[in-house]
Symmetry: D2
Subunit: 340 residues, 4 copies
C-alpha cells in the first residue's frame, strides 16, 4: 500500500501518521520524499487495512493499494485452474459446459419439453428460474418451491444436473437437492446471502453485478470462499452502459481477465447480457474463443408464450444450430463440450 | 403500449399477433400502417403485460411503453406530496430533515459522543450502521445486533429518531424499535427483502442502486407499496460512472425528476455519493436548492480512527458549519429544518 | 415516428399539433386513443423531422422513432456486404485484414524494423500514427508530416498499404498518398472533418467514439456517405465504462450488431480498447469468432522505448504467435487473412 | 510517480529499469521492498514522463501518478481565482454570468426577439449557435457565417456580449468579433483546434466532453493555456450515463471539484445536460448553490418552431421566472448577477 501525502503536510502530522501506522496497524513504513510530493510505502500485510481510515488523516492526499485485496480467489496464490465437479461433469480445465434451459420454469409441460430438447441438442446442464427477480412487482415472480420440484423432476428425466437461482437465505432449505446454486447479478453484493452460501458445500454460480467491477466480483467470490466453500463459478452476464441497442453490454474481456487473475472457472451468459436472440450465436462463439469454461443459454420450447424474457430465448431448433457451432469451435480451441 | 412491426412482417403473422393480444392479453389494438413501418397501438391496461413476450414474436421489431409501469408511487395518481411522520418529525412537505451520524456504530463511546454532537449541531435524526455491507469480507462488518442496541440507547439519550440499514430479511426482528429502516444501494433490488418490508408499517428509506435508473428505483418503491406499506422515502446516493475523482457521481437531477414523477419524499446522501469530506457542503446546498426533503450526512467524533469510510465523515465541528448553511438555505427556499 | 401525448392534452392542442404535422411537416397522422394515453402515429418520410421540435409542444409527453435515422449505411436498403478495395486487398466479404504497426511513427529505424517484422508475421496492412491525439499537451504529439513520409517509405519497402489518422481537415493535403484515412474516437463527431472526408474518394476507417452509441457511429458514417464517399470501414475500439482493470471495455457485441444493421465492413482494435498486451490475443480471437472483417493491432520493435502506449504494443515475436492463431481461427470460421 | 513491480520481477530487470529511469528519464529513484511487492518511488519532475512506456517493462505491474498532470490550470500553483473580463463583465470572482439565447440562430427575427427578451429578463450575455454539431447530417446544420453576422447585429442592438461555438479551425477568421468562443463537448479533445485557440487572445468557453473525466477537461484547458491563452472558462454540461429520463446526467459535483482543483471559472449548462425544460430551474439553482460562476441557458421566442432542441428551450416568460430565482439565490450566496 502506498500513501501519497499532501504537499502541505506538516512534519509533525507525518510523524504522527507514521507512528499510528506502525503502532496500531502493525506495518513498517518507508518514507520517500519527492520534489513535489512525499509518499509512504507500507511494508507488511495490508489486506485488512482500511484505505478510508488512512484517507481521513488531514495530511493524506490519496492511498493506493498495491496488492490485490483478494486472496482465496487469487491466481497468484493458486496457480492451477480450479475444476469443479457437478455430478461428474467438470467445470474448468479443458471442458466446456453448456447450461441451457428456460428463463423461468412455467409449467411441467414447458419445462419437460424444453429440457428434453436441450439434452438432445447436446446441453450438459439444465437451467431454469424458480425464483425470478423481476423489476416490476406486477410481473411473473416464478413458481418458487414448485419450480424447484419441477427442475428436480426434469433432472430425473434427462440426467442433466440442475442450476437455479436463489434470492434469499430464507429459502436455503429448498435448494438441498439442487446441483449448482446461482446468485443473480442483483444479489452479487447481498453479503449475508454470500456468507451463508460459503457455509454450504454446493457449487455456487456467481453472476457479476450490473455495474460491478471485476475486482468486486472477485471480492464477492472471496466472501463465499473465506467461509470455507471454494466451489465458486464466476459468470459474466453483461454490464450496464449507455448503449441502447442491447439490454447490457457483454464484456468478453472479463473472461480473459478473470482467467488471468483468478483460478476459478468462468462462464458467460449471452442471453441475459444482450437480451436478443440473434446475438446469442456470435457472442457464444466469441466467449469460447476468449477462453470461457462454459455458457449459460436460454432456450424455450415456445418463446413467444414465455412468461419472462421471451425475446432472448432460443427455440430448440435454433439452439441445435448454435450448439453445433459451439461444439466445433470448442474442439478447435482444444476443449470439448463435456457430455460426461 | 406501442408495438413496432418489422417491415418484413407477413399479414398472417400480424393477424395472429393481433388475435393473441386481444384474446390472451385482453387489450384492444389499433393498426397504423406507415410507409416504411407499421405499428400497433394497444388500448387498455398494459401494466401487467410483458414487453419481452411480445418481442419474442418474429414479426415484432420493438415494443415501447407509453404509460409508466408504476402506479402507487406515481404522482399522476396521487398529486399531493406524501408526508411521513417519524416520531412527530415530518419527512416531505415544507420540512427538511437532517439525518446525521457515523457511518458505522463502533462503540458506545463513539456513538454517544457523535450523537450528542449531531443533536447539538441541529441534526433532526440519527443515522448509524449496525449491519455494514462491505466489499471485502476482511473489512469491519458492523456490530450487528449490538449496534442496534447502542442506537436505541443513543435515541434515549438524545431524543433523535434512529435510521439504520437492514441487510437481510432474517434480521427483521432486531429492527422492531428502529424508527426508519434503510435499504442500501446494494439491496435496492433484493426483491424478497422489499416484499417483507412492504408487509411492515415502518418508514423505509430506499437508496438508489449504484447503476439503477430512476424508473427502477420507483419500481422498487412499488414493490414495497404494492404489499401495503406506503411510507417510502427515496434516497439519491450517487451513481457509478467513469469519473474517478469521486467515489460515485451524485445525480442532483434525480431530486427534481423524482419529485416530478412521484409524490414520495426524496432525501440525498452527499457523504456516500462523493466519498469526500470537502464535497459534503456544496453538494448538500445543491440538493437543498434542487428541492430535496432531507439530507443524510456522515459525522464521526474522530474520523481518522473510524472503522469504515473515514474519508467522508465530517468532524462535529465541520458539521456545525455545514448545518448553519443548510438551515439558512432551507429557510431561503421556503422550507425549514424540522427540529420537531 | 410515434408521438405520445400527455394525458392532460386538450383537444384543441392536439388538433393544432396534427394540423402542424400535416401542413408543415408533410406527414399523415393517425390518432390512437388509449385508456390512459393517446398516441399519434406518423405516416411518411420522417428522416428529416426533428423529434425535439415536436417535444417542444406542450401536449407532447415523448416522441419515439420507429425507423432508423440512417439510410446509406442501413442494411435494409443495401442487403449485400460492402467490400472495399485497398491496393487490391479486400476489406469485407470473406477476407480478414490484419492492420499492424506501431502506435506512433517515431523514427525511420523504428518504423522500418517494425513494418518489416509485421509483414513477415503476415500482417496485410501497415498502421502508424503520424498525428497523435494525446490527452496531455506535454506528451509526444507525433512526427506529423514527417511521419506520413516515413509511412509511405515503409509502404514502398514492404508493399503494405498504409492506414493513418487525420486530426484536422487543415491537413488533408498531406494525406493524398495514404491508402486509408483513419478518424480517431475523439473525432468521430468532428462533423466538419467528416463532411470533408465525404468529398474525397479514399477509404475512411471510422472509430467509434469513447461513449458513442452504435447508432451514433452509423450516423457519423452517414455524414461521410451522404457527401458521396461510400468507402467507410467501421471500427470498434472500446467504450468507456466504470471498469478500471482495462483502459476501455471492448464491446464485441458491436461487431455482430453493426454487421446486422449495416452492410459496411467492421474491424476491431483490441490494443487501444484494452490497453494491455496480454488481452490482445484473446480479444482478437473473440472478434474473429464474432465475425469481424479485420483487426488493428499495435506492434513495436521495442515497446518499452515507445513514445506512446508502450503497454499495449506487442513485440514482433509476440505478434507472430498471435497471427498464427488468428489465421487458423479465421480459416476455421470460413474466412482467410487476405495476403493479396 | 510510483512504480509497482510484479512479484516475479528479477533483480536484474529491476536494476535495468532503475538505470533507465535515472539515465534516460532524469529522475531519482527510491526502492521500497515490501513483503508481497516492491515499489519504486520517483523523485523529480515527472510531468513529461509517459506512464505507458514504463508499463511496457516486463517487471512492472502498474504505474501511478502522484502529481496532477496539469500545471497552468492547477490551483496549487495559482491559488487565486482567475477572473475573465468580457466587455467589462466579469466571469469568476463574486459575479454570476447568465448566458442566454437560442440553441441555434435561425433567422434575424427569431434571434432579435429572443435576444431582446433575454436582455429584458436580466441575461448578461447572449448565446446562439451559428455552427451546429448535429448527430444527423439530415438535421439543420446552422446558418454558419450568416449566423455569426446576426449574432453581432444582436449584440449591437442589446449590448450583450456574444458567445458562440466554433467547430473547425478553418473557421477561425469568422470569429474575430465574437466575444467568447465556445468549444463544444464533441470537440473537447479536438487538440488541433485547442492549440489554435491557445494562440489567440479571446476567452474560450470549454465544454466537458460527454464522457470526459474532470482531469481530461483540465488537460484540454491545459492545451489552450500551454499555448499562451489563459482565458479559459470551464463548462459542465452533463455526462453520459445509463439513465434514460434525461439526455445526460448533469454532474453538479464537477462545479465544486473544478473550483477546488483549478483557479479557472466554472459555468453550467442545465439546458443541454438535461434536455428538459422543467429541469432548467432546479438544476440552475443547484449549480448556483454549489458555487458556479455562471449559467448557460437556452431561451427561444417560440420553442416549438425551433430548428433544434426545442424541448429544452425556455420561453421568454418562463426564463423571466427562472431569472428572478437565480438572482435571488446568487444574492443569498454572496454573489450577484453581473449586469455590468
Amino acid at each position: 500500500m502506498v500513501i501519497i501525502l499532501k504537499n502541505t503536510a506538516a512534519p509533525q502530522q507525518v510523524g504522527e501518521l507514521i507512528r499510528w501506522l506502525e503502532d496500531s496497524c502493525k506495518v513498517k513504513t518507508n518514507l520517500v520524499e519527492g520534489v513535489h510530493s512525499t509518499i509512504i510505502g507500507l511494508i507488511g500485510d495490508t489486506l485488512h487495512m482500511d484505505t478510508e481510515a488512512i484517507m481521513a488523516n488531514d495530511c493524506v492526499e490519496s492511498v493506493q493499494r498495491v496488492q490485490e485485496p483478494y486472496k482465496n480467489a487469487n491466481r497468484k496464490f493458486h496457480p492451477d485452474d480450479t475444476v469443479i465437479d457437478v455430478c461428474s461433469r467438470k467445470i474448468g480445465g479443458n471442458k466446456t459446459q453448456i447450461i441451457a434451459g428456460p428463463c423461468s420454469v412455467e409449467s411441467e409441460k414447458q419445462l419437460m419439453e424444453t429440457a428434453i430438447a436441450c439434452k438432445q441438442a447436446g446441453a450438459t446442464m439444465l437451467r431454469g428460474g424458480a425464483f425470478k427477480p423481476r423489476t416490476s412487482p406486477y410481473s411473473f415472480q416464478g413458481l418458487r418451491e414448485e419450480g424447484i420440484k419441477l427442475l428436480l423432476k426434469a433432472k430425473k428425466e434427462t440426467g442433466l444436473p440442475v442450476v437455479t437461482e436463489i434470492m434469499s437465505l430464507a429459502h436455503m432449505d429448498m435448494f438441498t437437492d439442487v446441483d449448482v446454486i446461482q446468485v443473480g447479478a442483483r444479489n452479487m453484493q447481498n453479503f449475508e446471502l454470500l456468507k451463508e452460501l460459503g457455509r454450504c458445500d454446493k457449487p455456487v454460480l456467481l453472476k457479476r453485478g450490473l455495474s460491478s467491477t471485476l475486482e468486486e466480483l472477485l471480492m464477492s467470490a472471496e466472501y463465499i470462499m473465506s467461509e470455507g466453500n471454494s466451489k465458486v463459478i464466476l459468470c459474466e452476464r453483461g454490464i450496464r452502459t449507455f448503449e441502447t441497442m442491447t439490454r447490457n453490454t457483454l464484456d468478453i474481456s472479463a473472461v480473459a481477465l478473470l482467467k488471468q487473475r483468478s483460478h476459478l472457472p468462468v462462464v458467460v451468459d449471452p442471453s441475459h447480457a444482450t437480451g436478443l436472440v440473434k446475438l446469442v450465436e456470435p457472442m457464444s462463439l466469441a466467449a469460447v474463443a476468449a477462453g470461457c469454461d462454459g455458457l449459460e443459454i436460454e432456450v424455450h420450447c415456445d418463446p413467444k408464450s414465455a412468461l419472462s424474457d421471451g425475446a432472448q430465448q432460443l427455440t430448440p431448433k435454433a439452439f441445435c444450430g448454435v450448439m453445433e457451432k459451439i461444439k466445433a469451435l470448442a474442439g478447435f480451441m482444444g476443449k470439448d463440450v463435456d457430455e460426461a
